[in-house]
């Protein structure tokens, strides 16, 4: 772990919106990997808990000229002025400077939801109900991720359990850092279109670093100056303009 910390990684991803078909495999893989419980019967899109959510956005045209883009939106892992960190009264949100990952610590969270109000990407979710799985499914939970209790906020952490596993493996093999292929979040692994590329942005030679600098790659709400580590790619101009538009009430 110490060896990885010294390497000062900045994990991030680039999502190719022109490839995403909106199948939802990433959302389900995320929930299974991170032990996010199925919805309570009364849950809706406003009260549900999806660490990663795929939004459908259209260009607003009529049927024959309609164009749609599917936008997978999880925590953008803001690099500067991280809004959720600054508002949390409990220090339940921390930026791991060794990885750049914004971590949520449910044990500290008191459920005030200031962070949800502050997050410009709507990427945080409150546990309105006790997590419940159908009887018997408990034995199928991922042992690397502790289920969270009711009353706390949750969010994407780039499958931190997988990072720990990769670190353990690297340590066991006597390596200084983890191999890129050993740490892949569940959403990246599950995407049938291979629309998500993940890696270390600090490694200039990595695919993700190169993609993040390529043309037609952009970030959502760049005007806020939050320096997200999740970038998107689309050759369609209206999609790029949409990403820069700050929604109004």
């Amino acid at each position: 772990m110490e060896q990885t910390a010294q390497s000062k990684s900045q994990y991030g991803m680039v999502i190719d919106l022109d490839r995403c078909t909106g199948c939802g495999a990433c959302m389900v893989a995320c929930a299974v990997e991170n032990n996010v419980a199925p919805a309570e019967q009364k849950a809706t899109d406003r009260t549900g808990n999806t660490w990663l959510r795929v939004y459908t956005v259209t260009n607003g045209e009529e049927f024959r000229d309609l164009d749609t883009v599917f936008v997978p939106m999880g925590c953008q892992q803001c690099g500067t002025h991280t809004p959720c960190v600054s508002v949390c009264p409990q220090n339940a949100v921390e930026v791991d400077h060794a990885t750049g990952i914004v971590a949520q610590i449910p044990q500290r969270c008191l459920g005030c939801r200031y962070c949800m109000a502050a997050c410009p990407y709507h990427a945080r979710y409150f546990n309105w109900w006790d997590p419940q799985w159908p009887k018997g499914t408990e034995s199928l939970l991922n042992p690397d991720v502790a289920p969270r209790m009711r009353g706390v906020v949750e969010k994407c952490n780039f499958c931190h359990g997988r990072l720990h596993t990769a670190r353990t493996k690297a340590a066991a093999e006597g390596k200084k850092g983890i191999e890129p292929g050993d740490y892949i979040p569940a959403c990246v692994e599950s995407c049938p279109s291979q629309a998500i590329v993940f890696g270390d942005l600090a490694d200039e030679s990595s695919t993700v670093a190169q993609l993040s600098r390529s043309s037609d790659t952009f970030q959502f709400l760049p005007g806020l100056g939050t320096a997200p580590k999740v970038s998107y790619h689309s050759a369609r101009e209206w999609v790029r303009k949409m990403a820069a538009r700050v929604p109004t009430a």
């Binding site: 199925p38 309570e40 795929v54 045209e61 500290r108 018997g136 991922n142 042992p143 502790a146 291979q194």
Partner: protein, 716 residues
């Protein structure tokens, strides 16, 4: 020193204030949080050794490769295997949570029977022996010809080794009929089989080498054949040059990814296909030898002469230039033309299927690399004297006793199609399924068969694949007590009814028999799951080697190529030009009516077919709609004085159902896009199957299709 009361209180107050600045409060907060995380409402996590198993998903016929991470033997996460030799190495959302299905709240764990029929029917647990006796007595009565009607089995996933046993069983029964459901076969290939004589070979799509795919509503990226395979082809189109043209009246996920989208008015697809044929013949784009090779070329030529692009544009909504461009695209090189079959909307009518599939014959795709090629059958597959009969072709009111194999085909059809095949009193229906589902409502007996990953299941050749294959989905979970193997159940029934007992009395025995047949044929090779090593079957020392390799997640792929040596080819088959007469001019719908079309997502057309965690995409987000919702174009909503989210009543001649409106600009105006989907966390009582809902509104035509139904909509 004397301590005053004031000093004591000051000290206590100061200590208390000071304590707030120490780690103690944080520690208390942490401890209480940790305690609440471990209370009884938070499940404990499994512990034990970590292992990985290579297997296959058996939720639908695609049979995608799966790498299961197991803790103490229990699967905790499933992921695709990108190096899969079938190029089938990514999982759909249902497949990712496939291991949760065994614990579905609607899981059947013991045999049940319905007392009575209809809404007042009650589900009561019964012993398996009691059901076996009842069913055997019915067979004996039918054998004695004291009761009218026949015995039949509906095989939801034909082509498996167990399907052979089902046929054998039907061969023993009096008037036994082996039935396959609509959409069980790829419609275009089934149509081509009707139009051509391929002898013993089976037609298939050579997608790897094709240049153009013209798809009429096939959900290539959302369930058709193997979505991960087609997603790979489309993803790499910059390298392979693939041109995807999607003709569909909804901007579906496949339409979004297509190079060209043709928003054809639903119901006019045949006109579009014939107009494309018109351009091909008019511009001389077809190979000249086709004119002699097709027995009815002149009839076809005369037919398509009535569908010039300019006139057809008004009928189909597709511009004449787009029709011409499409015709030139599919005739420019190897291409495949595919007619779609929505998992809930079912196949096109036969005339439309013929018009679409015929384009493959017209441009010379059949037998051409990159077009429609042929593959040999899997050894022993369907080697039975009992023919497969399409459900639509079974005479109405002819079935007295029906067995339904509950294996998931991924598709669904209206219950009315099945009901009308039963004798007027409803006959006796035995459903062998792991779950209580809408299908259970019409059953008399429910036999709890093993769920996904609870038993060894066959992954046979996926629809349209260019090579035959055989692999196994390995059990990862133990079966609950009370689960019954369908093959063993039928063997018991046969024994009690005094019929000859089938040679194979368990599903696993059927699989071993097929492995034996493959080994005996010496065809093909086995690709190991662990290292992708390829071993020819011919080089194996015994059939045990093949079975061992299959049991370790390996897959057999046939090496035999077939040539298209057809002796008979027709482009229209039994379809006459009169079938297309109504499409020569635009048809205006009756005032106030809309076209109701059922839409589903493969493997997600019933509540019990999806794991509860699928609520992430169906309930907790707007990515997919729950069953019971209807999508309408905003202009359709405005025209009927409705609003987004309104509760509406939809009526057809089959009845009235209430639903919620969703405004969706991706739907063509004038169409009710009725979602036949799941409700992952439905509140339906587990002792009563839910109603069929919107699918029940669809009117099934004489040819067994239900794609478009005239409907009216009004505020509820």
């Amino acid at each position: 020193m004397k301590i005053t009361r004031r000093e004591l209180l000051t000290f206590a107050g100061g200590s208390l204030l000071g304590a707030l600045f120490t780690p103690i409060p944080w520690k208390l907060l942490d401890d209480s949080s940790i305690w609440t995380q471990n209370w009884s409402l938070i499940p404990g996590l499994p512990r034990g050794p970590e292992t990985f198993t290579a297997t296959r998903c058996a939720l639908c016929p695609a049979g995608c490769a799966v790498r299961a991470r197991r803790i103490d033997g229990q699967p905790v996460t499933l992921a695709g295997i990108p190096t899969d030799p079938f190029k089938n190495g990514a999982l759909c959302p249902m497949g990712i949570a496939g291991h949760h299905l065994a614990f579905h709240p609607l899981r059947l764990r013991q045999p049940f029977a319905f007392t009575g029929k209809g809404p007042d029917a009650t589900l009561v647990p019964v012993g398996l022996d009691e059901i076996v006796s009842e069913v055997a007595r019915t067979i004996q009565d039918l054998s004695a010809a004291s009761m009218p009607g026949s015995i039949a089995i509906l095989d939801q996933r034909p082509g498996r080794a167990v399907s052979g046993m089902y046929r054998e069983f039907m061969g023993m029964c009096p008037q036994g009929t082996y039935i396959v459901p609509p959409g069980a076969e790829e419609p275009t290939l089934a149509t081509l089989q009707r139009l051509c004589d391929f002898n013993e070979a089976l037609p298939c799509f050579d997608l790897e080498n094709t240049g153009v795919i013209l798809s009429f509503g096939s959900d290539l990226l959302d369930g058709w054949s193997s979505p991960s395979h087609t997603a790979g082809l489309i993803r790499n189109r910059n390298q392979n040059g693939l041109n995807l043209i999607q003709a569909e009246g909804v901007k579906s996920r496949t339409a979004h990814q297509a190079n060209t989208w043709l928003p054809v008015i639903p119901g006019t697809e045949a006109a579009l296909a014939l107009s494309i044929g018109h351009v091909i013949i008019r511009d001389g784009l077809h190979p000249r030898e086709i004119e002699k090779g097709l027995s009815d070329f002149q009839t076809y030529k005369n037919l398509v002469a009535g569908f010039p692009p300019d006139a057809t544009a008004a009928v189909t909504g597709i511009a004449a230039q787009a029709i011409t461009t499409t015709a030139h695209a599919i005739a420019s090189g190897p291409s495949v033309v595919i007619a779609g079959c929505n998992p809930a909307g079912g196949p096109f009518d036969h005339a439309t299927e013929t018009a679409i599939a015929g384009l493959n014959l017209l441009v010379g795709n059949v037998g051409r690399k990159g077009g429609i090629t042929l593959r040999a059958r899997t050894p022993s597959a369907e080697a039975s004297t009992v023919p497969a009969v399409a459900l639509a072709n079974v005479p109405d009111h002819s079935i007295r006793l029906l067995f339904v194999d509950g294996a998931e085909s991924g598709n669904i059809f209206p219950a009315s199609l099945l009901r009308r095949k039963l004798t007027p009193d409803g006959g006796t229906v035995v459903l062998m399924s792991p779950y209580l589902s809408p299908r259970s409502a019409g059953a008399d007996y429910l036999i709890p068969s093993p769920a996904a990953y609870e038993s060894m299941e066959e992954i046979s050749t996926r629809s349209g694949a260019s090579r035959s294959s055989f692999a196994l989905s390995l059990p990862l979970l133990s079966q609950p007590e009370g689960t019954v193997d369908p093959v063993a159940f039928l063997a018991k029934v046969a024994e009690q009814a005094g019929l000859p007992v089938p040679g194979l009395t368990s599903s696993e025995a059927c699989l071993k028999q097929r492995a034996h047949d493959i080994w005996a044929s010496k065809r093909g090779s086995l690709t190991a799951a662990a290292d992708s090593a390829v071993t020819p079957v011919q080089g194996m020392s015994g059939e045990e080697d093949l079975w061992k390799g299959l049991s370790e997640g390996g897959c057999w792929i046939d090496g035999e190529e077939q040539r298209a040596s057809t002796t008979r080819r027709s482009i229209l088959g039994s379809i006459t030009p009169g079938h297309f007469q109504p499409l020569t001019a635009p048809v205006k719908p009756a005032p106030g009516t809309l076209k109701l079309m059922a839409f589903g997502w493969r493997n997600a057309t019933m509540t019990a077919s999806v794991a509860p965690v699928l609520s992430k995409i169906f309930q907790e987000s707007h990515l997919r709609s729950l069953g019971g919702k209807v999508h309408l174009n905003p202009s359709t909503i405005a025209a009927h004085a409705l609003v987004d989210g309104a509760r509406v009543s939809i009526s057809t001649q089959s009845g009235t159902v209430t639903a919620d409106v969703v405004a969706d600009p991706a739907i063509i105006p004038g169409v009710i896009h009725a979602i036949v989907g799941p409700s992952p966390n439905n509140a339906a009582p587990t002792d009563q199957p839910e109603a069929e809902g919107l699918l029940g509104l669809c009117v099934v035509g004489a040819d067994g299709t239900w794609r478009i139904t005239e409907a009216t909509i009004a505020r509820a």
